[in-house]
């Protein structure tokens, strides 16, 4: 093969874990080749949870909302001793977030962390999400909800799944001063309005001016204005500030149904910024290979149109995600399998044990806690309990013993374990 690439680290996967790992590795001077399909990243909410809820341990119980994520870790480990956070001290989770936040701020997507507390963030259904790290564009909404300040929620005609009346009706008890309004998007000719389309329209000052003009008459007696998360694609902070100036009150974004703009922003930002930092990033590509003998390097193959490359890597970090990302596959006959190296997956004995009967069972479904068991250096373990290969590490949602959906710890597990794994593999170089 003529296009042989050499690197210190091959990262398989381009979700939040893979992207964060590339940042950490690049910052530490490692040469990186990374490949994956970035589809799943565009489906993320853009909100970075560390720990938002603890599942009930009993069928009749209720899940518990977490206000102070780091203080709640002890309770988490009591319920789920094998949770990946057990291998990452709280100060290192904070350090990992600080490093990713700095990177994102640098490329125009600043995030804000909540100190010891989770923020409370309004959702498009009118529920409240508890999250530790939110895009700066969502911050004014969290603060207004916290202080109970009256606010206006603006829906845009044709943007499906976002009803300001729904948000106001459902939040009425915790946020009494909410006023709903629905306005047409200036410049949109009618019919369906897609979030990405609206976001790109609002990149121009004239579109922002026109939108401010249709909203302004409704800004009476409110101290903040919330929009669906469509306030610009590349510099959302500038778009949000500009609208705030025009309306005379703080403006904030509320996430929309996936695929939403905040997820697409992250995808585009990582995809353009990582190569500038020396990461050889192959998007919409697969990287695969076999586990070599312990003393040998990995020889991997990147496949897809139009790229076809061979990669020789000293270390591999597997961040291939779960079912949606493609790192795990659920087989009717074979159970849950790991798709790149066919690693051992911790899972229930049979398919009957994957899900509980009740969709909203407060304990969550066992299938979401399946995945790879790892050692303290985040190296996947074989069935005999030993690392599969000294240079093979794994991070993110593919790890077992975490249910990111129910515990609201997706970005936290991704970023913290990527940090820890990169630290470990760097030392082992």
């Amino acid at each position: 093969m003529n296009d042989m690439m050499q690197c210190d680290l091959a990262i398989i996967g381009t979700g939040i874990a893979g992207m964060a790992a590339a940042v950490f590795a690049a910052n530490r001077g490692l040469s990186v080749v990374q490949a994956g399909s970035t589809g799943a990243l565009a489906y993320t909410s853009g909100v970075f949870d560390v720990l938002g809820a603890l599942p009930s341990e009993t069928a009749g119980g209720r899940p518990t909302v977490v206000r102070k994520p780091f203080a709640a870790m002890a309770d988490l480990f009591r319920i789920e001793p094998g949770h990946p956070y057990a291998g990452v001290p709280a100060e290192e989770i904070r350090a990992a977030f600080a490093e990713v936040s700095a990177f994102l701020a640098d490329i125009g997507l600043p995030y804000q962390t909540g100190g010891d507390d989770n923020y409370r963030l309004p959702t498009p259904a009118g529920t409240v999400k508890h999250s530790w790290c939110v895009p700066e564009t969502a911050l004014a909404g969290c603060l207004a909800l916290e202080s109970g300040k009256p606010a206006l929620i603006v829906a845009l005609h044709g943007l499906k799944g976002f009803s300001s009346r729904q948000i106001a009706a459902n939040l009425a008890e915790v946020w009494p001063g909410l006023q709903p309004v629905s306005v047409p998007m200036p410049g949109h000719t009618g019919g369906e309005l897609y979030p990405e389309q609206a976001a790109r329209m609002l990149e121009t000052a004239s579109a922002r001016k026109a939108l401010a003009e249709v909203v302004a008459p409704h800004v009476r007696g409110v101290e903040a204005v919330g929009f669906p998360a469509v306030l610009g694609m590349h510099r959302p902070g500038d778009v949000t500030r500009d609208l705030a100036e025009r309306l005379g009150v703080p403006v904030f974004e509320i996430p929309t149904m996936p695929p939403g703009v905040p997820g697409i922003r992250l995808k585009e930002a990582f995809e353009s910024a990582l190569p500038e930092r020396g990461v050889a990033l192959f998007c919409q590509q697969k990287m695969s290979g076999i586990v070599p003998e312990p003393a040998d390097p990995f020889v991997l193959r990147i496949t897809g149109q139009p790229v076809e490359r061979e990669v020789r890597a000293a270390k591999v970090l597997l961040c291939s995600g779960r079912f949606l990302g493609g790192g795990l596959a659920a087989r009717q006959d074979l159970g849950i399998v790991e798709t790149v190296f066919d690693l051992a997956v911790r899972q229930p004995e049979s398919r009957s044990g994957w899900h509980r009967q009740d969709y909203f069972d407060p304990r969550g479904h066992p299938v979401h806690r399946t995945g790879l068991a790892v050692d303290q250096q985040f190296r996947p373990l074989a069935k005999d309990g030993r690392p599969v290969h000294p240079g093979l590490h794994a991070a993110g949602s593919i790890l077992a013993h975490q249910d990111w959906i129910r515990m609201k710890c997706g970005a936290g597990v991704a970023i913290a374990t990527a940090y820890k794994a990169v630290e470990a593999l760097r030392r082992g170089r």
């Binding site: 259904a125 369906e192 979401h368």
Partner: protein, 538 residues
Amino acid sequence: MQQMQTDVLIIGAGAVGTGIARDLALRGVSSVVVERGDINSGASGGNHGLLHSGGRYVAGDVHSARECREENELLKRLAPQCIEECGGLYVAVAGDDERYIADFPGWCEAAGIQTQSVAPADARSMEPALSENLIAAYTLPDASLDPFRLSLENLAHAKALAGSTLLTRTAVDGFELDRGRIARVHLKDMARGETRTVEASQVINAAGAWAGRVAGLVNSRVGTSIPLLCSQGTLLVTHDRLSERVIHRLRPPGDGDILVPGGTVSILGTTSVTIPDPDLARPSVREVDVNLTNGAEMAPILASTRYVRAYCGVRPLLADDGSSEADRDGRSASRGFLLFDHENVGLGNFCSVVGGKLTTYRLMAEQTVDLVCGRLGNSTACRTREVPLPVMDACSWTEPGRSAKVWVMGHASDDEILCECELVSASAVDGLLQDCRDIFPDPDLQLLGKRSRIGKGACQGAFCGLRVASHLYDTGALSSRRGLGAMRVFFQERFKGQRPILWGAQMVQSELAEALHCGLLGLEFPAPESPEVELSHE
């Protein structure tokens, strides 16, 4: 407490109960149909949607086979809007009982059912999904039937003719007896907890698998006992339509031996598991696997195709040994039906109709109404053999593919598509709500799902559930936190059918759904902000 009066109170809004309402209305008798859930909540909504030719029963139950054949012909003529005349193929594969295969055409002839032998190679060119191991094939006049549209139109006709009404989400709470008659029936609104009483000249128990329970409420001392065997049958819905015709395995009834087209999908069934209580019916992983293994012998593609859902119904079978505890396979029980006049316990205005099949629902209604009209002194003859079922446009949204056709034909550019899998638009939802307003003053997602294709595509409601809810708030149909509860109920119901088929692409789909419903929206919290569930760690 509200009180109401009616000529006839019908308990159960399945095919039989709604068919009885229409039959009565055609004889000038008004009725109230009371239903604990919604239309077709029981077996009428949990079957294949097969209009039997009768071929399935020719070997052991020639009486049922004949009834099916006669009703099949009648319904094709009188309710064509509910039926796709796709035809049926009975096929045998290598290893199947050759004597059964050889006897089959003769049995069909004895029951008056038209069959035609087809060479295996020709059968495979008619239906490419069939196995290469085919050894025999016969065509029969099977068809597929939309059971939701059927019940909706029966009710709509009853309402138009005689002002008959439907009370859904309303359970029978008890009966008041007075000198050999049911004097009053107590009803309870399941959603609001309100109660009301109904005085009816005649009371008909058409509660399907729950008929034994209803009869037990009437007179627990005397015991209006009905020997029912509850047999759960689990079916699978494929992502795409796999055959043009109904395909039956040519052998004695067994698991995974029938594949029925349902518009744009196919339905594979079915199992037979005796359960103690119809409320416990849920499709299981084991039944799904059994259907797949057996079905693949007949059509190999069934082993690798994508499934979007499983569901089950409970066959209310008559336990012919008189014991409802019969711990045996429900397949041996008769598919015939029985009408209990309950005169043996001295009741003169109560009857129960149990057993039977979707295909024979009209005949069951006819015989029941003959009894009831006789008691009422009404001598009008049954007219459901001649009068066509009127076409109600409002009922047509249950038809697979209907939404897409209407949308393509004349959608306005600003009419949003709320269900993208099945192309149900905002204006269609508004129209359905308008039609349902009498029945459901409080709209919810379940009722829209039952009356349309919303939530029936690959995403199984994960996305359209949210979009429709938003639309209901936007149009003012919803205005309180109740909408969150409606979403939870809807997603829970869709999950019930997803759970046993979650592998491959559907697992990916369901992970995305749960990430949205729970990860982003936190719908697993019954009341997200209740102080007692917050953990502050201070």
